[in-house]
Subunit: 241 residues, 2 copies
């Protein structure tokens, strides 16, 4: 049996009992090194397989082999939700026609964790967009950024920048600024729910030049109704107070 | 002190330790009756305040009074994530200028819970839209449905239908069908992560006439790349298998 598990944003206290119990029921826990290190101490006596970045397809093939050929239960873990930019889809596709039982256990994704740090920015309709163009073309990303503006959604940006594409985030902000006011509240959380968590709140006009945005950040940009109250971003739900 | 807590989709095993510990640290737990009943047995010896539907503003005023005037720690709970169509924003707005300390503890929201039941539909960029027009006009909802289509987002529909507005869901589907193929994979989960959980997977063309869609359902409609594999919805992330 293969469990594809989201361990949540990173903190031990954010792992659901369901995810923890599923990991405890397995002999082997596999995943990206950084995520394995987040759970290793909680799972004494387990075998761990730590992968470097990428190699997602290999991880799924290994899991299938371990479960099917050796009859060993294995947990394939992702941070956040295994079903949001995680391993769930790839694992199901890899196991196609194998008859292997795959159980997907969701977790809290970064947008929700970061939102609570920034206040209450996601109280109304919102989108999650990844700025990584490894798997999605920049044309599609651009189309989605524009659609997010025309729908006046709150926007959560995953993978906002990396060393290989430091200019992506600024390019994305320039697109948003064609449609949204530079005064729109914006914020980021770095290492949300982990050691060295750090956040800042500013405006869309300001955040485009923020040098701190990297792969460990989740960025949230408000809708036209969002405002800053006592250092927190609030998107009103629509109640008449 | 006021904690605004998301208890997750409903299952006891989906409540994070952080949320449970925060509830245990409070003397009083307040919220909609249905959600109070989900946690009552986990919290012996606590005081509970159960509210009927609506009364969200009253709940926040009560919490503020209890914490400020009586110096009693109180947990205001929502199902799912307190920051997604929950109580977080309203509580912050109600406590404005009060100096009261408010701590927001996020939870797993229904979209992530339901997605895992349906397969892996949220592996690429997605939107959350509520079809309730109590607080958002139908014009704005329509605009967002159209924008979600033009951006080719996977679409999660919260509050898809209620007794007061049985036709909303069908109206929404008709809008989506102007832009998306009727063959687009679609599914719903009723009572996700609760007793009597039930789900079905079909197409957008079919789901518009599904009589089972109600307030206890979360609906997910795929993007142009989504497909059905072994009875599950998969939205490819873009890996070349």
């Amino acid at each position: 049996m293969i469990y594809v598990i989201g361990i949540g944003p990173g903190g031990e206290e954010s792992i659901t009992p369901r995810a923890l119990n599923a990991m405890k029921s397995c002999e082997i826990i596999a995943g990206y090194t950084k995520y394995i290190n987040l759970v290793r101490d909680l799972l004494p006596g387990k075998g761990f397989i730590s992968y470097s970045m990428r190699h997602e397809i290999l991880r799924c093939h290994d899991a299938l082999m371990i479960s099917r050929d050796f009859n060993i239960d294995i947990a394939l873990i992702s941070s956040g939700d295994s079903g949001v930019y995680g391993m769930a889809g790839l694992m199901l596709e890899t196991a196609k026609n194998s008859g292997e039982k795959i159980i997907i256990i969701p977790g809290m994704t970064a947008a929700n964790s970061a939102a609570a740090v920034l206040g209450a920015p996601l109280m109304n309709d919102y989108v999650n967009i990844s700025l990584s163009d490894l798997l999605t073309s920049w044309e599609v990303i651009t189309k989605r950024l524009i659609a997010a503006c025309t729908g006046d959604f709150v926007i959560c940006l995953y993978n906002p920048a990396s060393n290989n594409r430091p200019e992506h985030f600024k390019r994305a902000c320039k697109i948003l600024l064609e449609y949204k006011s530079p005064d729109t509240p914006a914020g980021f959380v770095m290492n949300s729910d982990r050691i060295n968590e750090y956040h800042e709140i500013m405006t869309l006009g300001e955040i485009q030049d923020c040098k701190l945005i990297n792969m460990s950040c989740l960025v949230i940009i408000g809708n036209s109704q969002s405002y800053i109250l006592d250092g927190q971003i609030i998107t009103p739900r629509g109640y008449k107070l």
